[in-house]
């Protein structure tokens, strides 16, 4: 029962990944694409933690930490570039 609900929530998160990616393809400006990339990163961080619990290996959660840190640095760098150049 619990495993089925976990699988359903993984599929729903995968559908969210597809929707955000469609916005990344369509977005008329660069800022729209950065917003879509932010959402993609957050959703895939959730997927990484889900995979870590399915496999039962705790080292994967460190990768989620690195992922969040790197995405924060990248998005702040892009925002700073768009605002006034680096």
């Amino acid at each position: 029962m619990a495993d089925i609900i976990y699988a359903i929530s993984t599929y729903v998160a995968l559908a969210a990944l597809l929707l955000a990616f469609v916005r990344l393809l369509l977005g008329p400006r660069a800022v729209d694409r950065v917003v879509a990339m932010d959402t993609l990163t957050i959703i895939s961080l959730s997927l990484i933690v889900c995979i870590a619990c399915l496999r039962g290996r705790t080292i994967y959660i460190d990768i989620a930490l690195v992922y969040g840190l790197i995405s924060f640095v990248g998005i702040v760098a892009i925002a700073r570039y768009l605002e006034r150049g680096m």
Binding site: L19, R23, G56, V76, I78, R84
Partner: protein, 116 residues
Amino acid sequence: MQIAGSIITLIGSVFLFLGALGIFRMPDVFNRIQAGTKATTLGTLLFLIGITIGHTDVVPHLKIVILILFILFTNPLSSHALARAAHHIKTPLAKETVRDDLAEDEKREDREGSLE
């Protein structure tokens, strides 16, 4: 305990889906930032909490707590920087927008600066 954790995870993934749907449907950059950040922050927090409750034997709790605190601090911060940059490069607003307080404030500051 596992059933409760899985239901919390399902609620979190529904919030993630709603955030992505808001990014897909909203007409404007600022509306997209608004819809994307809030819904996905809450959705990710619920997702992580649900998985931690469901798998108490494998997941180290301290790392999950650090991850949750990190997301809670950095996600609004990055979207604030992004919205500020988007306003600074004069991204066009949607035609339903009724007021823009930041532009009025900047205009008033410019006027006071030129008077001095």
